[in-house]
């Protein structure tokens, strides 16, 4: 079964608990129909409850989604009760085709939809009040949960039952920006108090009566199967409740995780790993990648003379870049709780893809999808890892095999060695440059693995995985002849979507390359980019502002150098300038002192949270540029914990100066745009300091 079939079979949520607004209220928006019942309900006591259908993993959907509704509903945000939505087709993210939190789509997709939900409910309340008071609709105002007309006053709750029978015709008018109470304004996140007092429930915190904790032994080689298992030593230990075998390995159940782990350590398992020749060493992986790079790929972007984009007789520059595997390494290790019982299956956990979860749980439990109930918790980091469904299948299989309510918890080592890694990539970029230093043609070829071919195969057509084109086909530079080519090559490593996906790969190659062209043609890297951005005035403004803020071109007495990169991603324009220093000796490692970023998100829906996302994204980008990488030996991942996968700590985190420029239109995505430009900005700064170009990451090989 593929995941898309799960989407179609998802169940319909019970409407039994919903009181008040809109029994059958439908709002037409584009081709979609939105059921307001799925999003909010108003109780007679004037409590407004909003369902949040986008997983909260740090990016603030918990507050922002509710805010978009109450902005139009005219209800105080700090009085709203937020519940986490179940798996249901009504919550499908129209930009992704499933109930998925990812791709920096949450605000972009909800922007019109959720504001219309709020506006429709408000129109119903006003119509109900007008009818009851026998006054014109235009005389009724709705303000912060209260309706009024002349001396008549009522709470929303008092009008909710009457409002639920009223059908609003036409599309309500949305507020103008001058009328916004919340959008673009400063107000606190609603989840922060629970996150500082320890009451926020993450997947790892789920408890149900008589629930046992499970530790799962998996083959060191991802995908390996159990050939034989001797669990006698485990069963002889005190406190072991059960040992069960599932398709991915052997699970040991106990009352605490320490006992479960102890039991797991005592298992004697022989694994059947199949042929691991392709992933026996990084040399083998790279050899395969290089062989594939010689083949023709899919031409995914073309302009002008794309067959031969480099102009004859001009200076030609070519460079090769390589990006390593990366792990998501969410601080909350992979975990999931499940209970298969009485023909039903309940799943609790940190989930980014609810319908996928419902589908794989149904398959593992042997029940129909509508008998699967998904309870999404807070996520202790996501970055794409919790889009995957492996841990959900495992938890359900363990519950079914044992007959118990269980919570599966992976160790850090399990998590590091059984991820869906950001793919390795090899890039060749070439350009022709005329006598004036203008790039007349550019060709970019990337060979990498396709996450989509594994996760959503129908989206890969004729060797073109659209997610591999992010950061290349949307190149903002005005270059008349262009050829963007991708070769899909599977190395045997399991790969997944990792925050900003292929933007990270393509932006590193292209923005490093543009700097190389600038250096070889004696041009200023900012000035050259400004000229090439003539068709993107918003990008020009962002870059010029970043240059000014970072002091580009100014004399520096401290020996620091600057490097720049800019890109468009998820509808946002961003420029990043890195300020670094590096010692003189050959083994000197660079220190990044400051990152200056300017972003144009269109509309700044939550300005402080935009800054938070950029701070977060830029440090992830820097962490992956500087020191972290995943490597393979004998088919298994070599890094096990944070000693060998050294994520950035406070002492390594640079100052960050972030500026938002609103270019207008609709809001862009913000969760990922901070990541891609950091690595090229840093290597460009290093090249400026040393004259030496780093073309393969990470910069410091641990």
């Amino acid at each position: 079964m593929d995941r898309r079939s799960f989407i179609k079979t998802s169940s319909v949520v019970s409407t039994g608990l919903i009181i008040g607004i809109g029994a059958n209220q439908q709002i037409a928006i584009g081709a979609e129909a939105i059921d307001t019942n799925a999003w909010l309900r108003i109780a007679p006591d004037n409590t407004v409850t909003i369902n949040n259908a986008r997983s909260e993993m740090g990016q603030d959907t918990y507050t922002t989604m509710a805010m978009l509704i109450v902005e139009e509903l005219e209800y105080p945000l700090n009085k709203v009760k937020i519940e986490i939505a179940p798996a249901n087709a009504v919550y499908i993210n129209s930009l992704l085709g499933g109930q998925i939190t990812g791709g920096s789509t949450s605000v972009r997709e909800a922007w019109d939809k959720l504001r219309l939900v709020g506006a429709t409910a408000k129109a119903q309340l006003i119509a109900a009040a007008a009818a009851k008071w026998n006054v014109p609709v235009t005389s009724v105002t709705a303000n912060q949960g209260m309706l009024s007309s002349g001396k008549n006053r009522a709470t929303y709750g008092e009008m909710a039952t009457a409002a639920s029978t009223i059908k609003v015709t036409g599309t309500p008018t949305l507020k103008s920006p001058q009328e916004y109470r919340y959008i673009g304004k400063a107000f606190p996140r609603l989840d922060t108090p629970t996150k500082v007092n320890g009451t926020a429930i993450y997947g790892i915190d789920v408890r149900q009566p008589d629930m046992l904790v499970a530790s799962l032994a998996q083959s060191p080689v991802i995908g390996g199967k159990v050939k034989s298992v001797d669990s006698s030593a485990t069963k002889a230990l005190k406190g072991i409740d059960a040992v069960v075998e599932i398709p991915d390995g052997v699970a040991v159940l106990a009352k605490d995780f320490y006992l479960a782990q102890k039991g797991r350590d005592a298992l004697k398992i022989e694994w059947q790993n199949g042929d691991t020749k392709a992933t026996d060493s990084m040399a083998a992986i790279e050899q395969g990648l290089r062989a594939a790079h010689q083949k023709n790929g899919a031409i995914v972007g073309k302009l002008g003379n794309f067959a031969n984009p480099l102009q004859a007789g001009e200076k030609t520059i070519t460079a090769e870049y390589m990006m390593p595997y990366q792990a998501h390494a969410t601080l909350e290790p992979v975990n999931c709780a499940a209970y298969v019982h009485n023909g039903e299956c309940h799943v609790w956990g940190p989930i980014q893809f609810q319908q996928g979860a419902q589908g794989v749980a149904a398959a593992a439990a042997g029940v129909a999808p509508e008998k699967v109930f998904i309870h999404t918790t807070f996520l202790g980091g996501g970055y794409g890892r919790k889009l995957e469904l492996d841990f959900i299948s495992q938890a359900v299989a363990i519950s079914k095999a044992s007959g118990k309510a269980i919570r599966l918890l992976w160790t850090r080592e399990d998590d590091m060695t059984h991820d869906f890694y950001r793919p390795i990539s090899l890039h060749t970029v070439s350009a022709s440059v005329d006598a004036k230093g203008k790039i007349t043609g550019l060709s970019s070829k990337m060979t990498s693995q396709s996450v989509t071919a594994r996760a959503f195969p129908p989206f890969v057509v004729d060797g073109n995985d659209p997610f591999m084109n992010e950061g290349s086909v949307n190149l903002t530079y005005d270059i008349p002849n262009l050829r963007i080519e991708n070769v899909i090559h599977e190395t045997g490593v399991r790969v997944g979507y990792w925050r900003a996906v292929s933007n990270n790969l393509n932006t590193f190659a292209l923005e490093s390359f543009i700097d190389e062209v600038a250096a070889q043609t004696s041009q200023d890297p900012v000035k050259m980019r400004m000229d090439l951005l003539s068709k993107h005035p918003r990008a020009q403004k962002v870059l010029a502002t970043a240059a000014k803020k970072a002091g580009w071109g100014e004399n520096r007495s401290n020996g620091h150098t600057l490097g720049v990169a800019q890109t468009e991603a998820y509808g946002a324009y961003i420029a990043v300038i890195a300020e670094i220093s590096i010692g003189k000796d050959a083994k000197a490692t660079p220190k990044v002192h400051k990152l200056t970023a300017v972003v144009d998100p269109g509309v700044a829906v939550r300005p402080d949270q935009i800054k938070a996302q950029l701070e977060s994204g830029m440090l992830l980008g820097l962490s992956s540029a500087m020191k972290t990488q995943i490597t393979f030996k004998d088919g298994a991942v070599e890094q096990k914990n944070f000693d060998s996968y050294p994520m950035m700590r406070m002492s390594e985190a640079p100052l960050m100066d972030i500026t938002i420029i609103e270019g207008g239109g609709k809001p862009s995505g913000m969760g990922e745009v901070g990541v891609p430009s950091v690595a090229p900005a840093v290597v460009n700064a290093i090249a400026s300091a040393t004259g030496k170009r780093i073309r393969s990451l990470p910069i410091i090989k641990v």
């Binding site: 740090g58 320890g198 926020a200 995780f257 969410t330 290790p333 980091g381 914990n641 406070m650």
Partner: protein, 148 residues
């Protein structure tokens, strides 16, 4: 066996070599203490043992039966409030998973150093990883709590 958690003496039926982390989370329902690495590398499981910050994943319960174990909810009320308020004012948490450990490291610092410098903060906090990259806000929140 008995453990003193946030001023309450609680009975626990677990093996003596059980790490304090799992005693807290799986036996005593003290879930604000989080599991990150199990190797003392990330600081997510930081608690105070007799006022000193410790990685609860590295301490067997048999070693702390006569000690006072504290989480954010068992700190002196003024200190706990200062830190929580500062964390809220600076909007520190994103995913929030590491933040209890961060706040406990900050609490230990602020207990012995009423006005920490940036360097003092970095030294005290460098054992706590935040994958969401909230370090600059953590720094601001510690300065804010110190002034409160």
């Amino acid at each position: 066996m008995k453990l003193n958690i946030n001023g309450k003496v609680l009975d626990i039926d677990a093996q003596g070599d059980t790490p304090l982390l799992w005693a807290l989370r799986d036996h005593l329902d003290v879930k604000e203490v989080k599991f990150g690495c199990g190797a003392g590398l990330c600081g997510a499981c930081t608690v105070h043992i007799d006022g000193q910050p410790a990685r609860s994943c590295q301490v067997p319960i048999s070693a702390v039966t006569n000690n006072k174990i504290t989480t954010i909810n068992g700190l002196p009320a003024t200190l706990s409030k200062k830190i929580k308020d500062a964390w809220i004012a600076e909007e520190v948490p994103q995913c929030g998973y590491c933040q209890h450990g961060q706040m406990m490291s900050a609490a230990a610092l602020l207990t012995k150093n009423k006005n920490p410098s940036d360097n003092d903060i970095t030294n005290a906090m460098d054992g706590n990883i935040c994958r969401c990259g909230t370090y600059s806000r953590i720094r601001r929140a510690i300065h804010r709590a110190a002034k409160a």
